[in-house]
């Protein structure tokens, strides 16, 4: 493989990207520990409400917020801050990039304090009327708005590049990152409204009650596109880097662009597929959102073909013959192109993640699995599969290139994704099989259903929770190996000049792209689709909701405003 183009990076841009990579990786240590606790609690190994000061639901909140919201958002921003200027051959404007970074850090610390202090055990979906400390909501808002500013900071770079390169195709890496943040921007408007307009004034005591079905609709307007916000930076790596790491070329540049545009179109108007079991939404709206979810499966099916074709092309260039030889001839264990292992292991996991996702989207079939442990089994094959592994691989790559330090323990680094793959497959098998037998998600099973002394004991789940625990322990070992490599590399001395360096692929079929060259028509169509999908749902929610609800703290069945009245009465 030829060396990738190296571009110098200003010291303060380097420091920002490194900070935005290092902070979430450090927090991830806590998040992974909280994950390990989950499988131990659920398997009945820990039969208590808390372990070493961490309560089960508090640890679950931390696990979800740190791993799925904080780590992913920071990574997407850091990756864009590095990749967008690199692909456009320009520099990152520093002032607003730092404003964005500092807002995100302050927000994260506020929310982390609220969770660790036990004042926000509301899980990462923070469904009202369970109420958290105001810092939890304020922290979430700062994190989100900070990430918007990062995106706004790239837009002038893109517009200037378009002016200076008329008639040229926008670099695919930039299309990928812009698709990511367009989806994110539209989707997070809804959750920002939920948090800033509904929940924050309510948790401060300025308003007494909240419209719960409306808040839930706004959350899921955001909650599913969130999944594509996780996935699209990984897709950007798959399309722009995996073919080169596999020694080949991207099979089709045009299909790659089509896929990103389809994600802009279909990622958002799908939220009701998380709400099939709920009142205040008509079954017609649910069916429409189910249909649109099937539409958003299409780009992933196309991706499966294009990436396989790209890898096959590379292997055939190196002399692969016959029908299956090209699969074996991939550089699975190469230490030079070590990032290949992270991307390919994630893709293999995603085959199962995608199939189980189509099951979840299937309207009435969802009732079989809704809120059972099947669901976390499924999404650990997506967000803790391709997303996590691509982000871990790229975090290590950014650390190495931006500090100018060669990666330590490279063989261990290559082993991490395969160990993780084995762990997550075992974990998800246990979760999904248990779910089909009614095992609930987000429940401290060791206190009741997996405790032989409890009247609720379900011995038939013992096998599934035990298998899940074994998988969880293997996943933890893989992460310990990753942290070892990451911090051993971070703490060594510099071996080369720091520089931005990404192994960007060439295209095998590099055709003109026509209407795919412009983002605008796709964004406008996406907004039209959202209006069509959500107008009837807003109407349902307004006519199906009869009353608003006061807030509750998770440990007290009396509403918060009544407790306060009792406190102040003589």
């Amino acid at each position: 493989m030829n060396a990738a183009l190296k571009l110098p990076v200003e010291p303060w841009a380097r420091r920002l990207v490194l900070l935005e990579i290092a902070l979430p990786v450090v927090l991830l240590v806590l998040g992974i520990y909280a994950g390990l606790l989950q499988v131990l609690f659920r398997a009945g190994v820990i039969q208590a409400a808390e372990f070493w000061g961490w309560e089960y639901y508090q640890a679950l909140t931390l696990h979800g917020i740190v791993n799925a919201i904080v780590f992913t958002t920071f990574f997407a921003v850091a990756f864009g801050n590095a990749l967008v200027p690199y692909a456009l051959g320009t520099k990152l404007p520093l002032r607003w990039a730092w404003v964005s970074g500092i807002m995100m850090i302050v927000g994260t610390l506020m929310a982390a304090w609220a969770i660790l202090a036990g004042k926000a055990s509301v899980l990462y979906t923070f469904y009202p009327p369970l109420m958290a400390h105001p810092f939890f909501y304020l922290g979430a808002a700062l994190l989100i708005i900070g990430s918007w500013i990062a995106f706004f900071n790239w837009i002038p770079l893109y517009l200037r590049w378009r002016r200076e390169h008329p008639g040229e195709k926008t670099p695919l890496a930039v299309v990928g990152m812009f698709a990511t943040f367009i989806v994110w921007l539209i989707a997070t408007v809804a959750v920002a409204v939920e948090v800033v307009v509904l929940l924050l004034p309510w948790s401060l005591g300025w308003t007494q009650e909240v419209n719960v079905p409306l808040a839930r609709m706004l959350f899921w307007f955001f909650g599913h596109p969130l999944v594509y916000f996780w996935l699209l930076p990984a897709y950007t790596m798959y399309y722009t880097m995996l073919p080169r790491l596999g020694g080949g070329k991207l099979y089709s540049d045009k299909v790659a662009r089509l896929v990103f545009m389809m994600f802009i179109l279909f990622s958002i108007p799908v939220g009701a597929h998380h709400q099939f079991a709920e009142p205040a939404i008509s079954s017609g709206s649910k069916l429409l959102h189910s249909f649109l979810t099937f539409a958003v499966a299409l780009p992933s099916l196309l991706t499966a073909f294009t990436l396989a074709a790209s890898l096959e092309y590379g292997a055939r260039q190196r002399g692969a013959r016959g029908l299956f030889d090209w699969i074996v001839k991939q550089p699975f264990f190469s230490t030079d192109g070590w990032m290949f292992s992270y991307l390919i292991a994630g893709l293999v996991i995603f085959i199962m993640g995608g199939i189980s996702g189509i099951i979840n989207a299937s309207y009435s079939m969802n009732l079989l699995v809704h809120n059972t442990s099947w669901l976390p089994g499924h999404f650990h094959l997506t967000v803790a599969g391709p997303v996590l592994l691509a982000f871990l691989g790229m975090s290590l790559h950014l650390l190495a290139t931006y500090t100018g330090k060669a990666i330590r323990l490279k063989r261990l680094a290559v082993a991490v994704p395969y160990l993780w793959l084995i762990g997550v497959f075992i974990f998800s098998w246990g979760m999904m099989r248990g779910g089909l037998h009614g095992e609930p998600r987000r429940t401290n099973l060791g206190m009741s259903y997996l405790n032989p002394d409890s009247p609720f004991y379900h011995p038939e789940w013992k096998l599934y929770v035990t298998v899940t625990m074994i998988g969880g322990i293997i996943m933890t070992l893989a992460m310990i190996a990753y942290f070892t490599v990451f911090f051993a590399t971070a703490l060594r001395s510099r071996t080369k000049e720091p520089a931005a360096e990404f192994p960007l692929s060439e295209a095998y079929h590099d055709e003109p792209v026509g209407a795919l060259a412009n983002l605008r028509p796709w964004v406008i169509t996406a907004i039209v689709l959202i209006v069509i999908a959500y107008t009837p749902m807003v109407r349902d929610v307004l006519r199906g909701t009869f009353s608003n609800a006061p807030g509750y703290e998770p440990h007290n069945p009396a509403p918060v405003n009544q407790i306060e009245q009792l406190d102040t009465s003589p």
Binding site: Y127, F276, P279, S364, R442, F546, S547, P557
Partner: protein
Amino acid sequence: MDRIEKTVMVIAIVLLVVFFGAIVVAATSYGVDVPTCVTDRKPFVESAPPFKTSDQPLRYEVHTVARMWMFDPPEITVPPGAEIDFYLSSADVVHGYHVEGTNINLMAVPGAVTYARLKFDREGSYSVLCHEYCGTAHHLMAGTIVVSHRAMEGEQ
């Protein structure tokens, strides 16, 4: 795009259309459907054990209130073959209502009423689990549906 890519795209679309078609057929021809928006019932905090709403012998209605951390009524008993209209309401936060091994998988959301119908043919005891996090003692929130001939005798 070359020929193979176009073929792949057509296969993918056909596959998804077949899947979706199967869902629509299940909903329209076999009545396998999801809860819808209920506008003619207000949320309630008073529960009601299974009661008859018509002359048909095995038709029942039950009003269940979910609250931190119990279902009210916690246990209901019906005869085999009973067809139950479930109305579910929450008195405080969001709860779940999953009757194990059945399609009754509902959310209890404050401010609205959730409705579903199911016929119980098999005798036995069905556990009902709250499967949505509802606070510190969420894992202790469960109930039972007993399908038994004795329910029939009790009525007479």
